[in-house]
Symmetry: C2
Subunit: 315 residues, 2 copies
Protein backbone atom coordinates (compact mmCIF):
# COMPACT_ATOMS: atom_id res chain seq x y z
CA UNK A 1 0.00 0.00 0.00
CA UNK A 2 2.61 2.68 0.86
CA UNK A 3 4.80 1.40 -2.02
CA UNK A 4 2.00 1.91 -4.51
CA UNK A 5 1.07 5.25 -2.99
CA UNK A 6 4.71 6.38 -3.07
CA UNK A 7 5.15 5.33 -6.70
CA UNK A 8 2.03 7.21 -7.75
CA UNK A 9 2.79 10.37 -5.82
CA UNK A 10 6.31 10.46 -7.26
CA UNK A 11 4.57 10.52 -10.65
CA UNK A 12 2.67 13.59 -9.47
CA UNK A 13 -0.76 12.01 -8.99
CA UNK A 14 -2.90 14.29 -6.86
CA UNK A 15 -4.96 11.91 -4.75
CA UNK A 16 -1.96 9.89 -3.49
CA UNK A 17 -0.18 13.20 -2.92
CA UNK A 18 -3.00 14.52 -0.73
CA UNK A 19 -3.12 11.21 1.17
CA UNK A 20 0.62 11.22 1.71
CA UNK A 21 0.56 14.71 3.21
CA UNK A 22 -2.34 13.75 5.47
CA UNK A 23 -0.33 10.73 6.64
CA UNK A 24 2.59 13.03 7.42
CA UNK A 25 0.38 15.52 9.24
CA UNK A 26 -1.29 12.81 11.33
CA UNK A 27 1.96 10.94 11.93
CA UNK A 28 0.29 7.82 10.52
CA UNK A 29 2.20 4.52 10.52
CA UNK A 30 2.94 4.87 6.77
CA UNK A 31 4.38 8.34 7.18
CA UNK A 32 7.99 7.35 7.83
CA UNK A 33 8.20 5.11 4.73
CA UNK A 34 6.65 7.87 2.62
CA UNK A 35 9.01 10.49 4.02
CA UNK A 36 12.11 8.35 3.57
CA UNK A 37 11.20 7.75 -0.09
CA UNK A 38 10.34 11.40 -0.71
CA UNK A 39 13.38 12.83 1.03
CA UNK A 40 15.67 10.87 -1.27
CA UNK A 41 13.98 12.44 -4.32
CA UNK A 42 13.69 15.94 -2.91
CA UNK A 43 15.97 18.96 -3.08
CA UNK A 44 15.05 20.22 -6.54
CA UNK A 45 12.17 22.60 -5.71
CA UNK A 46 12.72 26.23 -4.75
CA UNK A 47 10.97 26.78 -1.41
CA UNK A 48 9.63 30.28 -0.92
CA UNK A 49 8.33 31.56 2.39
CA UNK A 50 5.71 34.32 2.51
CA UNK A 51 5.26 35.69 5.99
CA UNK A 52 4.03 38.79 7.77
CA UNK A 53 1.54 40.02 10.35
CA UNK A 54 -2.15 39.05 10.23
CA UNK A 55 -4.09 41.19 7.77
CA UNK A 56 -1.17 41.95 5.46
CA UNK A 57 -2.86 40.18 2.55
CA UNK A 58 -0.46 37.24 2.39
CA UNK A 59 -2.99 34.76 0.99
CA UNK A 60 -3.97 36.96 -1.92
CA UNK A 61 -0.34 37.67 -2.69
CA UNK A 62 0.45 33.95 -2.58
CA UNK A 63 -2.41 33.23 -5.00
CA UNK A 64 -1.07 35.90 -7.38
CA UNK A 65 2.49 34.63 -7.10
CA UNK A 66 1.25 31.14 -7.94
CA UNK A 67 -0.51 32.49 -11.07
CA UNK A 68 2.59 34.40 -12.12
CA UNK A 69 4.78 31.32 -11.69
CA UNK A 70 2.32 29.29 -13.78
CA UNK A 71 2.56 31.92 -16.52
CA UNK A 72 6.31 31.36 -16.47
CA UNK A 73 5.88 27.62 -16.88
CA UNK A 74 6.64 26.55 -13.32
CA UNK A 75 4.50 24.10 -11.36
CA UNK A 76 3.44 25.41 -7.99
CA UNK A 77 2.50 23.93 -4.63
CA UNK A 78 1.13 26.14 -1.86
CA UNK A 79 1.44 25.14 1.79
CA UNK A 80 -0.59 27.41 4.07
CA UNK A 81 0.39 27.21 7.74
CA UNK A 82 -1.07 30.57 8.65
CA UNK A 83 -3.94 30.21 11.14
CA UNK A 84 -5.35 33.48 9.82
CA UNK A 85 -5.21 32.33 6.20
CA UNK A 86 -8.39 31.65 4.27
CA UNK A 87 -6.55 28.64 2.78
CA UNK A 88 -6.49 27.00 6.20
CA UNK A 89 -10.18 27.56 6.73
CA UNK A 90 -9.37 30.13 9.35
CA UNK A 91 -11.56 32.84 7.83
CA UNK A 92 -14.36 33.55 10.24
CA UNK A 93 -16.35 36.13 8.36
CA UNK A 94 -16.23 34.68 4.89
CA UNK A 95 -13.39 36.74 3.47
CA UNK A 96 -12.26 33.70 1.54
CA UNK A 97 -9.94 34.49 -1.31
CA UNK A 98 -11.23 33.50 -4.71
CA UNK A 99 -8.92 30.73 -5.78
CA UNK A 100 -11.05 29.57 -8.71
CA UNK A 101 -8.38 30.52 -11.26
CA UNK A 102 -5.96 28.17 -9.55
CA UNK A 103 -8.31 25.40 -8.46
CA UNK A 104 -8.76 23.82 -11.87
CA UNK A 105 -5.07 23.89 -12.83
CA UNK A 106 -3.26 20.53 -12.60
CA UNK A 107 0.04 22.42 -12.26
CA UNK A 108 -1.10 23.85 -8.93
CA UNK A 109 -1.57 22.05 -5.63
CA UNK A 110 -2.88 23.84 -2.53
CA UNK A 111 -2.60 22.41 0.93
CA UNK A 112 -3.27 23.78 4.39
CA UNK A 113 -1.53 22.51 7.51
CA UNK A 114 -3.20 22.33 10.91
CA UNK A 115 -1.56 24.68 13.36
CA UNK A 116 -2.36 22.67 16.46
CA UNK A 117 0.04 20.03 17.60
CA UNK A 118 3.10 19.26 19.59
CA UNK A 119 5.90 21.73 20.12
CA UNK A 120 7.91 22.12 16.97
CA UNK A 121 5.45 19.82 15.21
CA UNK A 122 4.27 22.52 12.88
CA UNK A 123 7.71 23.33 11.50
CA UNK A 124 8.53 19.61 11.21
CA UNK A 125 5.30 18.75 9.39
CA UNK A 126 5.60 21.73 7.07
CA UNK A 127 9.12 20.80 6.04
CA UNK A 128 8.00 17.20 5.52
CA UNK A 129 5.04 18.28 3.38
CA UNK A 130 7.45 20.36 1.31
CA UNK A 131 9.65 17.27 0.80
CA UNK A 132 6.64 15.34 -0.47
CA UNK A 133 5.61 18.14 -2.85
CA UNK A 134 9.22 18.55 -3.96
CA UNK A 135 9.51 14.81 -4.65
CA UNK A 136 6.19 14.92 -6.54
CA UNK A 137 7.85 17.30 -8.98
CA UNK A 138 6.55 20.77 -8.16
CA UNK A 139 9.27 23.22 -9.08
CA UNK A 140 8.15 26.00 -6.72
CA UNK A 141 6.73 25.49 -3.23
CA UNK A 142 5.17 28.55 -1.59
CA UNK A 143 4.85 28.44 2.20
CA UNK A 144 2.44 30.94 3.71
CA UNK A 145 2.88 31.56 7.42
CA UNK A 146 1.87 34.29 9.85
CA UNK A 147 5.08 35.98 10.90
CA UNK A 148 4.67 36.59 14.59
CA UNK A 149 5.82 34.15 17.22
CA UNK A 150 8.67 31.74 17.52
CA UNK A 151 7.06 28.68 15.92
CA UNK A 152 6.01 30.67 12.86
CA UNK A 153 9.50 32.07 12.43
CA UNK A 154 10.75 28.49 12.56
CA UNK A 155 8.38 27.60 9.74
CA UNK A 156 9.68 30.52 7.69
CA UNK A 157 13.21 29.29 8.25
CA UNK A 158 12.48 26.04 6.43
CA UNK A 159 12.22 28.10 3.20
CA UNK A 160 15.13 28.83 0.86
CA UNK A 161 14.05 32.44 0.54
CA UNK A 162 11.59 34.44 2.60
CA UNK A 163 9.40 37.37 1.64
CA UNK A 164 8.07 39.52 4.48
CA UNK A 165 4.73 41.13 3.62
CA UNK A 166 3.77 44.37 5.35
CA UNK A 167 1.11 47.04 4.81
CA UNK A 168 1.50 50.84 4.66
CA UNK A 169 0.33 51.10 8.29
CA UNK A 170 3.21 48.82 9.35
CA UNK A 171 5.52 51.75 8.77
CA UNK A 172 4.05 53.75 11.65
CA UNK A 173 4.78 51.63 14.64
CA UNK A 174 7.22 49.46 12.71
CA UNK A 175 5.58 46.83 14.89
CA UNK A 176 6.34 43.99 12.55
CA UNK A 177 9.98 44.90 12.61
CA UNK A 178 10.16 44.43 16.32
CA UNK A 179 8.85 40.91 16.11
CA UNK A 180 11.93 39.52 14.41
CA UNK A 181 10.61 39.86 10.87
CA UNK A 182 13.32 42.32 9.84
CA UNK A 183 15.93 39.68 10.51
CA UNK A 184 14.45 36.91 8.42
CA UNK A 185 13.34 38.71 5.24
CA UNK A 186 15.18 38.26 1.94
CA UNK A 187 12.52 40.32 0.18
CA UNK A 188 10.14 42.88 1.65
CA UNK A 189 6.79 43.76 0.16
CA UNK A 190 4.55 46.66 1.12
CA UNK A 191 1.23 45.20 0.05
CA UNK A 192 -2.01 47.23 -0.24
CA UNK A 193 0.29 49.97 -1.50
CA UNK A 194 -2.64 51.91 -3.01
CA UNK A 195 -3.29 53.01 0.57
CA UNK A 196 -1.72 56.13 1.98
CA UNK A 197 1.75 55.85 3.43
CA UNK A 198 3.15 53.07 1.23
CA UNK A 199 6.26 55.01 0.20
CA UNK A 200 6.83 56.09 3.77
CA UNK A 201 6.54 52.47 4.95
CA UNK A 202 9.02 51.36 2.27
CA UNK A 203 11.40 54.06 3.43
CA UNK A 204 11.02 52.94 7.08
CA UNK A 205 11.78 49.34 6.09
CA UNK A 206 14.83 50.39 4.04
CA UNK A 207 16.09 52.44 6.98
CA UNK A 208 15.61 49.55 9.37
CA UNK A 209 17.39 47.22 6.92
CA UNK A 210 20.45 49.43 7.06
CA UNK A 211 20.83 48.38 10.69
CA UNK A 212 21.14 44.75 9.63
CA UNK A 213 24.63 43.34 9.13
CA UNK A 214 25.35 42.93 5.39
CA UNK A 215 24.48 39.50 4.03
CA UNK A 216 27.54 37.25 3.54
CA UNK A 217 26.40 36.43 -0.01
CA UNK A 218 26.10 40.11 -0.96
CA UNK A 219 22.32 40.13 -1.26
CA UNK A 220 20.53 43.38 -0.49
CA UNK A 221 16.86 42.72 0.33
CA UNK A 222 14.68 44.69 -2.08
CA UNK A 223 11.59 46.53 -0.79
CA UNK A 224 8.75 46.26 -3.31
CA UNK A 225 5.25 47.71 -3.55
CA UNK A 226 2.28 45.54 -4.48
CA UNK A 227 -1.50 45.65 -4.73
CA UNK A 228 -2.11 41.92 -4.71
CA UNK A 229 -5.82 41.78 -5.69
CA UNK A 230 -4.97 43.68 -8.92
CA UNK A 231 -1.75 41.76 -9.47
CA UNK A 232 0.20 45.02 -9.31
CA UNK A 233 3.90 44.48 -8.59
CA UNK A 234 3.52 40.70 -8.40
CA UNK A 235 5.70 39.99 -11.42
CA UNK A 236 8.54 41.95 -9.84
CA UNK A 237 8.26 39.93 -6.63
CA UNK A 238 8.68 36.75 -8.67
CA UNK A 239 11.67 38.23 -10.49
CA UNK A 240 13.36 39.16 -7.24
CA UNK A 241 12.62 35.75 -5.71
CA UNK A 242 14.24 34.15 -8.77
CA UNK A 243 17.20 36.54 -8.64
CA UNK A 244 17.70 35.62 -4.99
CA UNK A 245 17.52 31.92 -5.84
CA UNK A 246 20.20 32.37 -8.51
CA UNK A 247 22.40 34.32 -6.13
CA UNK A 248 21.98 31.69 -3.39
CA UNK A 249 23.04 29.00 -5.84
CA UNK A 250 25.97 30.87 -7.34
CA UNK A 251 27.38 31.93 -3.96
CA UNK A 252 26.97 28.50 -2.41
CA UNK A 253 24.80 29.86 0.39
CA UNK A 254 21.80 27.75 -0.64
CA UNK A 255 23.68 24.68 0.58
CA UNK A 256 24.40 26.38 3.91
CA UNK A 257 20.79 27.40 4.42
CA UNK A 258 19.51 23.95 3.59
CA UNK A 259 22.10 22.39 5.86
CA UNK A 260 20.94 24.50 8.83
CA UNK A 261 17.31 23.77 8.03
CA UNK A 262 17.74 20.01 7.81
CA UNK A 263 19.93 19.97 10.93
CA UNK A 264 17.11 21.68 12.81
CA UNK A 265 14.68 19.09 11.49
CA UNK A 266 16.76 16.21 12.78
CA UNK A 267 17.03 17.99 16.13
CA UNK A 268 13.24 18.45 16.35
CA UNK A 269 12.66 14.84 15.38
CA UNK A 270 15.10 13.51 17.96
CA UNK A 271 13.57 15.66 20.69
CA UNK A 272 10.11 14.31 19.90
CA UNK A 273 11.36 10.71 19.78
CA UNK A 274 13.23 10.97 23.08
CA UNK A 275 10.09 12.31 24.69
CA UNK A 276 7.86 9.58 23.28
CA UNK A 277 10.24 6.85 24.46
CA UNK A 278 10.42 8.41 27.92
CA UNK A 279 6.65 8.72 28.31
CA UNK A 280 6.12 5.10 27.28
CA UNK A 281 8.07 4.16 30.40
CA UNK A 282 6.10 6.34 32.81
CA UNK A 283 2.97 4.68 34.24
CA UNK A 284 -0.01 7.05 34.25
CA UNK A 285 -0.38 6.77 38.02
CA UNK A 286 3.25 7.73 38.59
CA UNK A 287 2.81 10.77 36.36
CA UNK A 288 -0.35 11.82 38.18
CA UNK A 289 1.38 11.43 41.56
CA UNK A 290 4.19 13.70 40.39
CA UNK A 291 1.73 16.35 39.24
CA UNK A 292 0.02 16.15 42.63
CA UNK A 293 3.28 16.81 44.51
CA UNK A 294 3.67 19.92 42.35
CA UNK A 295 0.12 21.10 42.94
CA UNK A 296 0.68 20.82 46.68
CA UNK A 297 4.05 22.57 46.40
CA UNK A 298 5.69 19.60 48.15
CA UNK A 299 8.18 19.31 45.31
CA UNK A 300 9.29 21.93 42.80
CA UNK A 301 9.11 21.14 39.05
CA UNK A 302 12.88 20.42 39.08
CA UNK A 303 12.60 18.08 42.03
CA UNK A 304 9.56 16.28 40.62
CA UNK A 305 11.20 15.91 37.19
CA UNK A 306 14.35 14.46 38.72
CA UNK A 307 12.33 12.03 40.82
CA UNK A 308 10.41 10.88 37.73
CA UNK A 309 13.58 10.31 35.75
CA UNK A 310 15.02 8.27 38.61
CA UNK A 311 11.82 6.22 38.99
CA UNK A 312 11.81 5.10 35.36
CA UNK A 313 15.59 4.74 35.15
CA UNK A 314 15.99 7.41 32.50
CA UNK A 315 19.47 8.90 32.17
CA UNK B 1 25.83 32.58 48.28
CA UNK B 2 22.49 31.28 46.89
CA UNK B 3 21.27 30.76 50.49
CA UNK B 4 21.91 34.38 51.33
CA UNK B 5 20.44 35.55 48.02
CA UNK B 6 17.36 33.38 48.54
CA UNK B 7 16.85 34.65 52.07
CA UNK B 8 17.08 38.26 50.91
CA UNK B 9 14.81 37.89 47.90
CA UNK B 10 12.19 36.15 50.03
CA UNK B 11 12.22 39.32 52.11
CA UNK B 12 11.48 41.27 48.94
CA UNK B 13 14.90 42.89 48.43
CA UNK B 14 15.13 44.17 44.88
CA UNK B 15 18.77 43.55 43.94
CA UNK B 16 18.76 39.86 44.96
CA UNK B 17 15.39 39.55 43.20
CA UNK B 18 16.79 40.91 39.95
CA UNK B 19 19.85 38.63 40.26
CA UNK B 20 17.69 35.60 40.92
CA UNK B 21 15.59 36.20 37.81
CA UNK B 22 18.74 36.67 35.73
CA UNK B 23 20.05 33.37 37.08
CA UNK B 24 16.78 31.71 36.04
CA UNK B 25 16.83 33.29 32.61
CA UNK B 26 20.46 32.29 32.00
CA UNK B 27 20.01 28.84 33.53
CA UNK B 28 22.92 29.63 35.84
CA UNK B 29 24.20 26.93 38.25
CA UNK B 30 22.40 28.60 41.18
CA UNK B 31 19.07 28.69 39.37
CA UNK B 32 17.75 25.31 40.48
CA UNK B 33 18.39 25.99 44.19
CA UNK B 34 16.71 29.39 43.85
CA UNK B 35 13.73 27.92 42.03
CA UNK B 36 13.26 25.07 44.48
CA UNK B 37 13.20 27.52 47.37
CA UNK B 38 10.87 29.93 45.60
CA UNK B 39 8.46 27.29 44.35
CA UNK B 40 7.83 26.14 47.90
CA UNK B 41 6.86 29.68 48.91
CA UNK B 42 4.85 30.51 45.79
CA UNK B 43 1.18 30.13 44.94
CA UNK B 44 -0.17 33.22 46.66
CA UNK B 45 0.10 35.80 43.85
CA UNK B 46 -2.63 36.29 41.26
CA UNK B 47 -1.00 35.94 37.82
CA UNK B 48 -2.61 38.02 35.10
CA UNK B 49 -1.80 37.62 31.44
CA UNK B 50 -2.20 40.55 29.05
CA UNK B 51 -1.94 39.48 25.43
CA UNK B 52 -2.96 40.62 21.97
CA UNK B 53 -1.60 41.49 18.54
CA UNK B 54 1.33 43.90 18.09
CA UNK B 55 0.23 47.52 18.23
CA UNK B 56 -2.76 46.95 20.50
CA UNK B 57 -1.25 49.12 23.23
CA UNK B 58 -0.62 46.29 25.70
CA UNK B 59 2.36 47.95 27.42
CA UNK B 60 0.52 51.15 28.17
CA UNK B 61 -2.45 49.21 29.46
CA UNK B 62 -0.16 47.10 31.66
CA UNK B 63 1.44 50.25 33.09
CA UNK B 64 -2.03 51.65 33.86
CA UNK B 65 -3.20 48.39 35.41
CA UNK B 66 -0.11 48.40 37.62
CA UNK B 67 -0.92 51.95 38.78
CA UNK B 68 -4.53 51.03 39.48
CA UNK B 69 -3.47 47.99 41.50
CA UNK B 70 -1.07 50.14 43.50
CA UNK B 71 -3.92 52.53 44.27
CA UNK B 72 -5.80 49.53 45.65
CA UNK B 73 -2.93 48.60 47.93
CA UNK B 74 -1.58 45.64 45.96
CA UNK B 75 2.10 45.14 45.15
CA UNK B 76 2.74 44.56 41.47
CA UNK B 77 5.38 42.79 39.40
CA UNK B 78 5.38 43.13 35.61
CA UNK B 79 6.97 40.46 33.40
CA UNK B 80 7.20 41.58 29.77
CA UNK B 81 7.80 38.74 27.32
CA UNK B 82 6.46 40.62 24.34
CA UNK B 83 9.19 41.19 21.74
CA UNK B 84 7.27 44.24 20.53
CA UNK B 85 7.00 45.71 24.03
CA UNK B 86 8.89 48.85 24.96
CA UNK B 87 9.57 47.14 28.31
CA UNK B 88 11.71 44.54 26.57
CA UNK B 89 13.70 47.18 24.73
CA UNK B 90 12.05 46.16 21.50
CA UNK B 91 10.98 49.68 20.57
CA UNK B 92 12.90 50.70 17.49
CA UNK B 93 11.74 54.23 16.95
CA UNK B 94 11.65 55.52 20.50
CA UNK B 95 7.97 55.03 21.29
CA UNK B 96 8.94 54.05 24.82
CA UNK B 97 6.11 54.23 27.29
CA UNK B 98 6.65 56.66 30.13
CA UNK B 99 7.04 54.46 33.17
CA UNK B 100 8.34 57.20 35.46
CA UNK B 101 5.30 57.02 37.76
CA UNK B 102 6.03 53.36 38.39
CA UNK B 103 9.82 53.40 38.37
CA UNK B 104 10.28 55.03 41.79
CA UNK B 105 7.69 52.89 43.57
CA UNK B 106 9.13 50.10 45.79
CA UNK B 107 5.82 48.22 45.46
CA UNK B 108 6.40 47.77 41.72
CA UNK B 109 8.98 45.57 40.02
CA UNK B 110 9.34 45.52 36.22
CA UNK B 111 11.24 42.82 34.39
CA UNK B 112 11.61 41.92 30.72
CA UNK B 113 12.36 38.40 29.53
CA UNK B 114 14.50 37.68 26.49
CA UNK B 115 12.47 36.03 23.78
CA UNK B 116 15.36 34.12 22.26
CA UNK B 117 16.12 30.69 23.54
CA UNK B 118 15.34 27.05 23.28
CA UNK B 119 11.93 25.75 22.33
CA UNK B 120 9.54 26.13 25.19
CA UNK B 121 12.26 27.96 27.10
CA UNK B 122 10.35 31.20 27.07
CA UNK B 123 7.24 29.78 28.72
CA UNK B 124 9.39 27.87 31.23
CA UNK B 125 11.48 30.90 32.16
CA UNK B 126 8.43 33.13 32.42
CA UNK B 127 6.65 30.78 34.79
CA UNK B 128 9.85 30.46 36.84
CA UNK B 129 10.27 34.24 37.03
CA UNK B 130 6.65 34.45 38.22
CA UNK B 131 7.43 31.92 40.98
CA UNK B 132 10.34 34.06 42.14
CA UNK B 133 8.22 37.23 42.15
CA UNK B 134 5.38 35.38 43.85
CA UNK B 135 7.75 34.07 46.55
CA UNK B 136 9.17 37.58 46.97
CA UNK B 137 5.71 38.66 48.04
CA UNK B 138 4.20 40.54 45.10
CA UNK B 139 0.45 40.05 45.26
CA UNK B 140 -0.21 40.66 41.56
CA UNK B 141 2.03 39.54 38.69
CA UNK B 142 1.21 40.98 35.27
CA UNK B 143 2.56 39.05 32.28
CA UNK B 144 2.65 40.96 29.01
CA UNK B 145 2.99 38.81 25.89
CA UNK B 146 2.27 39.28 22.20
CA UNK B 147 -0.65 37.01 21.42
CA UNK B 148 0.19 35.49 18.08
CA UNK B 149 2.03 32.24 17.75
CA UNK B 150 2.16 29.02 19.67
CA UNK B 151 4.93 29.87 22.11
CA UNK B 152 3.27 33.14 23.10
CA UNK B 153 -0.03 31.39 23.71
CA UNK B 154 1.87 28.99 25.94
CA UNK B 155 3.17 31.95 27.91
CA UNK B 156 -0.36 33.28 28.29
CA UNK B 157 -1.45 29.90 29.60
CA UNK B 158 0.87 30.18 32.58
CA UNK B 159 -1.42 32.97 33.87
CA UNK B 160 -4.42 32.43 36.16
CA UNK B 161 -6.51 34.82 34.09
CA UNK B 162 -5.87 36.26 30.64
CA UNK B 163 -6.96 39.55 29.13
CA UNK B 164 -6.91 39.78 25.33
CA UNK B 165 -6.30 43.34 24.12
CA UNK B 166 -7.60 44.35 20.70
CA UNK B 167 -8.09 47.65 18.87
CA UNK B 168 -11.17 48.93 17.01
CA UNK B 169 -9.62 47.88 13.70
CA UNK B 170 -9.39 44.28 14.98
CA UNK B 171 -13.14 44.05 14.52
CA UNK B 172 -12.92 44.33 10.75
CA UNK B 173 -10.93 41.30 9.78
CA UNK B 174 -11.40 39.74 13.20
CA UNK B 175 -7.82 38.74 12.47
CA UNK B 176 -6.84 38.36 16.07
CA UNK B 177 -9.72 36.00 16.65
CA UNK B 178 -8.44 33.62 14.04
CA UNK B 179 -5.11 33.31 15.73
CA UNK B 180 -6.45 31.45 18.72
CA UNK B 181 -6.91 34.51 20.91
CA UNK B 182 -10.67 34.07 21.17
CA UNK B 183 -10.14 30.74 22.89
CA UNK B 184 -7.78 31.91 25.62
CA UNK B 185 -9.34 35.21 26.76
CA UNK B 186 -11.08 35.50 30.13
CA UNK B 187 -11.45 39.23 29.59
CA UNK B 188 -11.48 41.17 26.31
CA UNK B 189 -10.47 44.78 25.99
CA UNK B 190 -10.97 47.04 22.98
CA UNK B 191 -8.17 49.49 23.63
CA UNK B 192 -7.76 52.81 21.78
CA UNK B 193 -11.55 52.92 21.94
CA UNK B 194 -11.61 56.64 21.18
CA UNK B 195 -10.99 55.59 17.59
CA UNK B 196 -13.86 54.88 15.24
CA UNK B 197 -15.38 51.42 15.29
CA UNK B 198 -14.81 50.53 18.95
CA UNK B 199 -18.43 49.59 19.60
CA UNK B 200 -18.55 47.59 16.37
CA UNK B 201 -15.40 45.73 17.38
CA UNK B 202 -16.85 44.98 20.83
CA UNK B 203 -19.97 43.65 19.14
CA UNK B 204 -17.89 41.46 16.81
CA UNK B 205 -15.98 40.04 19.79
CA UNK B 206 -19.20 39.37 21.70
CA UNK B 207 -20.65 37.60 18.66
CA UNK B 208 -17.54 35.49 18.26
CA UNK B 209 -17.61 34.64 21.96
CA UNK B 210 -21.09 33.19 21.56
CA UNK B 211 -19.50 30.48 19.41
CA UNK B 212 -17.34 29.41 22.33
CA UNK B 213 -18.60 26.60 24.53
CA UNK B 214 -19.81 27.98 27.89
CA UNK B 215 -17.15 28.03 30.59
CA UNK B 216 -17.51 25.18 33.13
CA UNK B 217 -17.22 27.67 35.98
CA UNK B 218 -20.01 29.88 34.62
CA UNK B 219 -17.77 32.82 33.73
CA UNK B 220 -18.84 34.97 30.80
CA UNK B 221 -15.84 36.93 29.43
CA UNK B 222 -16.66 40.64 29.58
CA UNK B 223 -15.74 42.90 26.64
CA UNK B 224 -14.52 46.26 27.91
CA UNK B 225 -13.51 49.53 26.25
CA UNK B 226 -10.35 51.36 27.30
CA UNK B 227 -8.20 54.32 26.30
CA UNK B 228 -5.07 53.28 28.17
CA UNK B 229 -2.98 56.50 27.90
CA UNK B 230 -5.81 58.42 29.61
CA UNK B 231 -6.53 55.62 32.06
CA UNK B 232 -10.09 55.38 30.73
CA UNK B 233 -11.75 52.06 31.57
CA UNK B 234 -8.67 50.76 33.40
CA UNK B 235 -10.35 50.57 36.79
CA UNK B 236 -13.09 48.38 35.33
CA UNK B 237 -10.51 46.00 33.84
CA UNK B 238 -9.00 45.58 37.32
CA UNK B 239 -12.46 45.00 38.80
CA UNK B 240 -13.24 42.32 36.26
CA UNK B 241 -9.85 40.66 36.72
CA UNK B 242 -10.53 40.53 40.47
CA UNK B 243 -14.08 39.26 39.94
CA UNK B 244 -12.67 36.48 37.74
CA UNK B 245 -10.08 35.63 40.39
CA UNK B 246 -12.82 35.35 43.03
CA UNK B 247 -14.92 33.18 40.74
CA UNK B 248 -11.95 30.92 39.94
CA UNK B 249 -11.31 30.46 43.64
CA UNK B 250 -14.94 29.89 44.66
CA UNK B 251 -15.60 27.38 41.84
CA UNK B 252 -12.38 25.49 42.42
CA UNK B 253 -11.25 26.03 38.83
CA UNK B 254 -8.15 27.97 39.92
CA UNK B 255 -6.70 24.70 41.22
CA UNK B 256 -7.45 23.00 37.88
CA UNK B 257 -5.84 25.76 35.85
CA UNK B 258 -2.76 25.79 38.03
CA UNK B 259 -2.56 22.02 37.88
CA UNK B 260 -2.53 22.04 34.06
CA UNK B 261 -0.01 24.85 34.01
CA UNK B 262 2.43 23.18 36.39
CA UNK B 263 2.00 19.84 34.62
CA UNK B 264 3.00 21.53 31.38
CA UNK B 265 6.02 23.03 33.12
CA UNK B 266 7.23 19.65 34.32
CA UNK B 267 6.73 18.30 30.79
CA UNK B 268 8.77 21.15 29.26
CA UNK B 269 11.50 20.69 31.84
CA UNK B 270 11.72 16.94 31.26
CA UNK B 271 11.86 17.42 27.49
CA UNK B 272 14.74 19.86 27.86
CA UNK B 273 16.59 17.59 30.29
CA UNK B 274 16.22 14.50 28.08
CA UNK B 275 17.62 16.47 25.18
CA UNK B 276 20.58 17.80 27.15
CA UNK B 277 21.46 14.34 28.41
CA UNK B 278 21.22 12.92 24.89
CA UNK B 279 23.39 15.60 23.34
CA UNK B 280 26.09 15.12 25.98
CA UNK B 281 26.48 11.60 24.64
CA UNK B 282 26.79 12.59 20.97
CA UNK B 283 30.34 13.46 19.88
CA UNK B 284 30.44 16.58 17.72
CA UNK B 285 31.99 14.66 14.81
CA UNK B 286 29.20 12.06 14.86
CA UNK B 287 26.59 14.83 14.82
CA UNK B 288 28.30 16.57 11.91
CA UNK B 289 28.51 13.29 9.97
CA UNK B 290 24.79 12.78 10.42
CA UNK B 291 24.02 16.25 9.17
CA UNK B 292 26.22 15.57 6.15
CA UNK B 293 24.27 12.40 5.22
CA UNK B 294 21.12 14.54 5.30
CA UNK B 295 22.62 17.28 3.18
CA UNK B 296 23.59 14.70 0.56
CA UNK B 297 20.14 13.07 0.78
CA UNK B 298 21.84 9.71 1.53
CA UNK B 299 19.67 9.34 4.63
CA UNK B 300 16.35 10.95 5.48
CA UNK B 301 15.92 12.83 8.78
CA UNK B 302 14.14 9.77 10.24
CA UNK B 303 16.89 7.41 9.13
CA UNK B 304 19.66 9.71 10.37
CA UNK B 305 17.91 10.24 13.71
CA UNK B 306 17.50 6.51 14.24
CA UNK B 307 21.14 5.86 13.36
CA UNK B 308 22.25 8.52 15.85
CA UNK B 309 20.15 7.07 18.64
CA UNK B 310 21.60 3.63 17.94
CA UNK B 311 25.17 4.95 17.84
CA UNK B 312 24.95 6.49 21.31
CA UNK B 313 22.83 3.69 22.77
CA UNK B 314 19.84 5.93 23.46
CA UNK B 315 16.52 4.15 23.97
Amino acid sequence: MPDDLIRRLLHGERVPLARAISAVENEAPDAVAILNACYEKSGRAFRLGVTGPPGAGKSTLVARLAQEYRRRGETVAVVAVDPTSPFTGGALLGDRVRMSDLAGDPGVFIRSMATRGSQGGLAVHTAQACDVLDAAGFSRVLIETVGVGQSELEVAQTADSTCVVLVPESGDGVQAMKAGLMEIGDLFVINKSDREGAERAAFAVRSALELRPPSPDGWTPPVLLTVAPEGKGVSEVVERFEAHFEQLKSHGSLAGRRRRSVEQRMRDLLRAQLWDVFMERVPVRVWEDSVQTLVEHRLSPHEAAERLRRLVGAP
